[in-house]
Symmetry: C2
Subunit: 446 residues, 2 copies
């Protein structure tokens, strides 16, 4: 129990109470007592004001604290103040799928609840009013680990409808666990969509002082409203400081840390852009857009193929993997395609290679990626790889295994499994990068 907690106890108030505080002689503020802020020290009271901003007050400045009846600020007024003034702003549709970014502790009831009505979003992040007009639609409210290929179909359809309704950009609120899988799914199902579709989540719920929810959402909205390029992107914190959010390509991004706010990384290439949110929001583009020739906003019309099949399996190879167990899984009649995460350049043991050979001879499709994550498969260097090629295993260059799984599901769903051999090794939305690309520490091929 910290200093501040004892201090608050003296006034008969605690975290979550709605209070009026008197400080510096007779100045007054109203707001909700927030959890202790890791940056603010042990002698600082943090309160969330009615306008949505957090304020910290040193204990020594505080003369009096009075507990008020719990009263949420009147968001209608706030909303009108915002909307009426900035009526020529870009229009962005927010589609809520689920995840931490939607959860906040309700200080009125003590429970966790979703904060997805537009008024409330504007209360939490008042800066949104200066960025865009928003409409919010709740598609579902699922933790992302529970999503399935059929959920990707539902989400694809919602995004498509919002696109047809003429929004300038679309933002998806999504759990972070499988956000990279969904961003890949939408990259394929909504190929050549003419506006930015930006997935965003948060690693910490929005009422924790260290939360990344507000900055991520604000940056995602700013990108959806202003990004020069169209296509599917993922916006997440990119450094330990609080002012930079990376805009990743939807097929090349991976959650590489369980809990850190900077968990997401682009693989094999840098992010397309960064959104900085100091005094004023701004976008800084990297070389990626020019280098890859990304489609610009409004230059394309969507090639909508929203189906996803469940006839794909993803398997990570490991030394000692048993042939008989693998055989059972791979040869199952409910599976048409198998994505293998091999070792190194894309290798498996002799015994597993024999199972893959049998699967292919039965008409199944086997694709090779690497558990190394960075780099490119190459089955031409060693005997192990050359045998796999001979058996009919198809290497997927530098495609992420997660993206490959999603892509195979998409190919089968829309074009049938016969199309796998041709479409899997053909880049759709930068899921395979040119061989020559060599950037940064991890980007280069060798």
């Amino acid at each position: 129990m910290g200093l501040i907690d004892t201090f608050l106890k003296g006034f008969g108030v605690k975290e979550g109470d709605y209070i009026e505080v008197v400080y510096d002689n007779d100045k007054r503020l109203r707001g909700i007592i927030m959890p202790k802020n890791m940056f603010s020290g042990d002698d600082v009271l943090v309160i969330k004001l009615d306008n949505g901003y957090n304020v910290g007050l040193k204990m020594e400045r505080i003369k009096e604290i009075m507990k008020l009846d719990l009263k949420w600020p009147d968001s209608k007024v706030v909303l009108e103040r915002g909307r009426q003034v900035y009526n020529d702003l870009p229009r962005v549709k927010i589609l809520a799928v689920g995840g931490t970014i939607l959860s906040r502790v309700d200080y009125r009831t003590g429970g966790v609840r979703s904060a997805v009505d537009p008024d409330e979003l504007l209360d939490i992040i008042p800066e949104i009013r200066e960025v865009c007009d928003i409409d919010v639609e709740i598609i579902m409210n699922k933790y992302s680990e529970h999503l399935t290929p059929s959920d990707w179909e539902v989400i694809s359809n919602y995004v498509y409808n919002s696109y047809r309704e003429g929004y300038d950009g679309i933002v998806l609120l999504h759990g972070t666990d499988t956000m990279g899988y969904t961003s890949a799914a939408l990259s394929f199902s909504l190929n050549k969509i003419g506006v930015p579709v930006v997935l965003v989540g948060s690693q910490r719920s929005s009422d924790r002082p260290s939360s990344d929810a507000a900055i991520n959402l604000l940056s995602a909205l700013y990108a959806a409203a202003n990004l020069r390029y169209s296509g599917v992107f993922l916006a997440m914190h990119s450094s330990t400081s609080d002012d930079r959010v990376a805009i990743h390509l939807g097929t090349r991004v991976r959650k590489n840390h369980t809990s850190a706010r900077f968990a997401f990384e682009s693989i094999g290439i840098d992010p397309v852009a960064y959104v900085y949110s100091g005094r004023k929001l701004r976008i800084e583009y990297t070389y990626v857009g020019d280098y890859l020739g990304l489609d610009t906003r409004g230059s394309t019309s969507v090639d909508f193929n929203p189906r996803f099949s469940d006839r794909v399996a993803l398997m990570k190879f490991y030394p000692g993997m048993k042939a008989n167990l693998m055989r059972r899984l791979i040869l199952d009649e409910s599976i048409d395609a198998i994505i293998i995460e091999g070792t190194g350049l894309g290798h498996v043991s002799d015994v597993v290679a024999e199972v893959l050979k049998d699967a292919i001879s039965m008409g199944k499709y086997v694709f090779m990626t690497s558990q190394c994550i960075w780099g490119r498969t190459n089955l031409n260097v060693y005997d192990t790889g050359r045998f796999l090629l001979k058996y009919g295993v198809i290497p997927l260059e530098d495609m992420l295994s997660e993206t490959a799984y999603v892509k195979a599901s998409w190919v089968i769903g829309n074009f049938g499994s016969d199309a796998l051999s041709e479409l899997m090794p053909t880049p759709i939305f930068h899921d395979i990068l040119p061989k020559s690309l060599a950037v940064g520490r991890k980007g280069c091929d060798g």
Copy 2:
């Protein structure tokens, strides 16, 4: 075809020929024509001299090239020169398992062959003579993707015997694909071994100009001979420059790039040390040894438990993973323990959670790691995790999934599956790090 190739053609010689070259009027050198060096430019002839060094000669300095009968240098003489002079050097045993580091193109026959006799190693890397006396033993010659738990037993026994013979350090030449799995295996089977055991490989074979074989091997030998700490380590290139090799903890290292020379990274902590090889070899220690209280050389005696079971499976969870397929694999009677790579903090879908519950009720053991690679599992944050805990799933903190797979195989092999619940979450050789550890960009917990 480059300038130099045309130039060589004029003299009737080509890459791989053993030649005498006359240059700068009447100076003479003998050696083998090496492949073009990426750093040397297109007008430079690179030859490997009889003493093992490579020399580059600009075309304009060359007067004459004569092809000689292929004649490998007389390594006996070289060896004696080395051995006789430095007879008080540390003694290091080299155990050869396989992999790229052992392969070189034989310019006498044109085929790829293993270079594992000590004389030849001294020819290739003459600097070894100044570091240690070596003995070489070939255990097997396998690409590492073909290794199995029973191979880990064989390797463990060879290392143990070398240790008993009194060597100051032991170096294993190993394929890179599964080198991280084997280094974890030996970390457990040879816990508290009193000398450094250093696994080393190379990403490029030793006769390619950009090869990392020589620098990796030399640094591994230097570490085996001189490292202050004992235990199992993995030595590999750590930057794009050629002079730094990282010494990683055996349980915390992962191959994170398919082809780059700096592919291996320590996860959740920095390497224990770096070996620099400028004019003089030297070791630079990081904070890790003090922080973790690593055992120092000679301070412990080995706790030898060399058995590994094949009754473990490793599975990566992905959204849409089918319960029926997973059920078949997990409930198989040949499996006692399952390591799951969950999403984020250690999550799986409801349907997969039910399968895990059934597996546990059948007496199997289920352990949770994360496919994020960096960070720590935490099943207390969300409902998904809390249900898994209730079902009996055991989270493994920040243990790598590959290390967890190996560890479960080791626990069952030596102590039986009943020991899994207790031993898996108990650190043996830094396979779980203290919660408070927060270093570097990726090291921190949050």
